[in-house]
């Protein structure tokens, strides 16, 4: 079982990450990936960029712990989590989660579990930049509610 965690300013290539998950992997029949993109949170306010801050050290530990929790619940042989920080333009890639499993259900559920926990626990903060101002994005209750299905 392997876990790869990366917090970086650079962009990532989904094809490359997918290939890494698949290469020399004869036991898994499923690869599930999720890619998050930067979008506008405030409609009609002309967002120019998104700024992402994180807590170096703690963030990586939390992502590792989330991946390990996922591996205790599902048979996920390989997990890759990449999250970008710094200034990002609308439409840019912000987060990647990829998992491999023997069968698809574990892969789908595992990837969703990782994203739901990342949203609620990983120490990142988003700020929207407009032409003349900026605004910190507020935590969404719907993200908290999404954890409910894993805590039953």
């Amino acid at each position: 079982m392997s876990i790869h965690i990366q917090v970086q300013t650079d962009d990532f290539n989904v094809g490359d990450e997918h290939n890494t998950l698949c290469s020399n992997n004869k036991s898994d029949g499923a690869v599930v990936t999720f890619t998050g993109l930067v979008r506008e949170f405030s409609s009609g306010d002309n967002v120019t960029a998104l700024e992402l801050e994180h807590y170096p050290g703690m963030t990586e530990q939390l992502l590792q712990s989330i991946a390990e929790q996922a591996q205790t619940r599902w048979q996920l042989a390989r997990i890759c989590i990449i999250h970008r920080v710094g200034y990002l333009a609308l439409g840019e890639q912000i987060v990647f989660v990829g998992v491999t499993s023997r069968h698809r259900q574990a892969g789908f559920e595992g990837a969703q579990f990782i994203m739901d926990y990342l949203k609620n626990h990983a120490t990142f903060w988003k700020k929207e930049h407009f032409k003349d101002s900026s605004n910190w994005v507020e935590f969404k209750q719907s993200d908290k509610q999404a954890l409910g299905k894993w805590e039953k």
Binding site: W125, K127, W136, F139
Partner: protein, 99 residues
């Protein structure tokens, strides 16, 4: 070898000294401060340490008393009754918004 000669970390660590404080996200911006070394004379709970901060920086009170403010002691999420000792790293921040 004399019995009881093993070094007890509690004897070695001085009770007075500095705690490294970190602030993130909107809180950092409101306080206009990202990090701070705070002198303490004895171990304090996180809530006691917050009161000490407010006594030194009264204008920080509204931000440090926000109900949703989170704390991490040595990079582990912590409740307000956990004890902070010299040499610890304590971070305060608002709810996270990654992904």
């Amino acid at each position: 070898m004399a019995v009881g000669s093993a070094i007890n970390p509690n004897d070695v660590l001085p009770s007075a000294g500095k705690v490294e404080l970190l602030f993130f996200g909107q809180l950092k911006e409101r306080l206009k401060c990202s990090k701070l070394s705070l002198e303490i004379s004895q171990p304090l709970s996180i809530s006691e340490l917050k009161l000490k901060l407010v006594s030194q920086y009264p204008h920080w009170q509204p931000w440090l008393e926000e109900r949703e403010l989170l704390a991490a002691l040595n990079q582990t999420m912590s409740s307000s009754d956990e004890i902070v000792k010299v040499g610890d790293e304590l971070a305060f921040f608002p709810p996270v918004t990654g992904g």
